[in-house]
Amino acid sequence: MVSTYTQPLARLIEAFQTLPGIGPKSAQRLAFHMLKQSSHDIKNFSDALLDAKEKIGECAQCFNLSGQSPCELCANPNRSPKTIGVVIDAQDLFALERTGEFSGQYHVLHGLISPMEGIGPEDLKIRELLARLTTDSEGRNRVEEVILALPPSIEGDTTSLYLSKLIKPLGIKLTRIAFGLPVGGDLEYADNMTIARALDGRQEF
């Protein structure tokens, strides 16, 4: 189909369409919205994008996205270095952080083991995690517990299994977050796998 848009507009729409979850219609709506903004607002917007890209890097300790290294979380003296929560990516980290229930430090793996996607253990920040478990900056090992906050999928299970083989021999307590029914959910409407896993992971009451 021949584009009916003038070339710069077509380019803008195409640029929006590269974003996740944005189809042709949404891209068009966003592009028209942008054109209505003042040049000043648009400058702010594009500066924010570039600024974020330039300044945000990975924390050298936990590999979370941050403008500084060590990141705000690793540098926070109120957070206990005795517990490390292992997550897939920064999004999952923020999901845990929103609960306000976890006061330890994090370690971001940047993926899960999945040969189909060409990701092996060596592509993840596993070596770096092990380094944190054996020594800290003063040459002592202060980590007492590693919590695997990985999803209950084949890849999540496999990655957890892989990590357990490396971490357990170090004598550090290794736990994995529980799987089961959503809070406020109905047993009746849950699918069988979820109920089966919830039953498996039941706790003494």
Partner: protein, 393 residues
């Protein structure tokens, strides 16, 4: 289970079609290539969540159409309210086909949630692949049968397949280069899921074995003895299947996986697991796929299907529907009569045939004449029902 009505829209060669079924026998009558099997396929689709022959949903759409829909209203045994099942297939703007199954109007999260609502036993010509086809055809038959009986089996198969694909990719891409530690975790996952899948298959076969042997003996007029064996790589499992012995299959798989780990790395393929298993059938000691006649093969499949019907009725408390596609071909009149005599009266039957002539097809003609039946004449995607014949007692 009793299906009251079925509506097809843009499905295969049906433009728009609504049908009301008889509680007893539904005879689908028509020439070749008119759409008899397509109609049965639609019933199968809403029972199994997949077609028995199309591997892609898009094959189910009428040529040139962007959508297709099948909906069905059924009345479960002992319930007062009807249940409605729908499947809707629609192409989105990007041309991808989206399939949604619905239960009483509510979309289901995935296909496996549909299973169990419409229990069915079916006989299609493609089922003969059970004997003539490859080991993978036989595993597919077995897994489909077990799923009807225990729907957890669907997740066992799906999970095992996911793990196997991941491991295959690892072996294929890295072969000798993949680290033993990485391969070990996939092996552990494979052994766990494989053991669960194998256990589920074995307990079903254990349950199926005796009744189907009896069934075949009867069908063959006490002439031929049926025997079948499940061929797993685990010696213990092969011995266990006829006598229900509890063995640690996971450990057995783990041992075998470790034993063949280098061979797998060298060849770059998954060599160990239930995806390599097979089922062999024997009549009077001779292997059926090599020595059995067409009629014997058909009889054997029929014996298995009748046994499935019996087991499903017993265990689910809900009589399954029976789908018979051109089943009488190649069967002698005695075997045809046996089949008809052994369909329990509470079962709703859907049977296709090319003719109802009393001379050409006496057994079916007599069966239909006994009443409680509706005849549907199919011609080029159009179906016309003939009034129901009630049995007068």
């Amino acid at each position: 289970m009793r299906i009251r009505s079925l509506a097809l829209r843009h499905y295969r060669n049906y433009h728009e079609q609504e049908l009301t079924f008889s509680a007893g026998k539904n005879i689908i009558l028509g020439q070749n290539g008119q759409g008899k099997t397509n109609l049965l396929e639609a019933l199968y689709l809403l029972s199994h969540s997949r077609s028995h022959r199309a591997s892609l949903d898009r094959e189910l759409l009428m040529a040139g159409s962007d959508y297709a829909a099948v909906s069905l209203v059924m009345m479960p045994h002992g319930y007062l309210a009807d249940i409605r099942l729908d499947v809707q297939m629609k192409r989105d703007t990007a041309g991808r086909l989206k399939t949604v199954f619905k239960l009483n109007g509510t979309p289901l999260k995935n296909r496996s949630q549909l299973l169990g609502h419409l229990p069915s036993v079916s006989f299609f010509n493609t089922d003969l692949a059970l004997l003539r086809g490859t080991p993978s055809d036989r595993r597919r038959w077995l897994d489909a049968a077990v799923t009807q009986y225990d729907k957890r089996h669907f997740t066992y198969v799906a999970e095992y397949e996911k793990i196997r694909k991941q491991k295959s990719r690892l072996l294929k891409e890295q072969g000798m280069a993949c680290t033993p530690a990485h391969l070990a975790v996939w092996n552990e996952q494979l052994a766990r899921a494989g053991a669960r899948l194998l256990q589920s298959r074995l307990s079903y076969l254990c349950f199926l074995y005796d009744p189907s042997v009896v069934r075949y003996l009867e069908l063959s007029g006490q002439q031929e003895a049926l025997n079948f064996s499940y061929q797993s790589q685990l010696e213990e499992a092969n011995k266990a299947f006829k006598s229900r012995v509890d063995i640690d299959l996971e450990q057995a798989y783990m041992a075998l996986l470790n034993h063949r780990i280098n061979e797998e790395r060298q060849r770059g393929v998954c060599l160990v697991g239930p995806h390599r298993d097979d089922i062999r059938f024997y009549l009077n000691g001779l292997e059926v796929c090599a020595y059995g006649s067409q009629g014997q093969q058909r009889t054997l499949v029929l014996a298995l299907k009748l046994t499935e019907l019996e087991l499903l009725s017993q265990t689910s408390g809900e009589p399954p529907i029976l789908i018979l596609d051109d089943v009488m071909a190649e069967l002698d009149p005695e075997r045809q009569q046996y089949l008809i005599d052994h369909i329990p009266p509470e079962i709703q039957v859907f049977l296709t045939t090319t003719h109802l002539d009393a001379q050409l097809n006496p057994v079916v003609a007599r069966y239909v004449g006994e009443g409680n039946s509706t005849i549907f004449k199919v011609s080029a995607g159009q179906i016309q029902a003939q009034p129901e014949k009630r049995c007068i007692r």
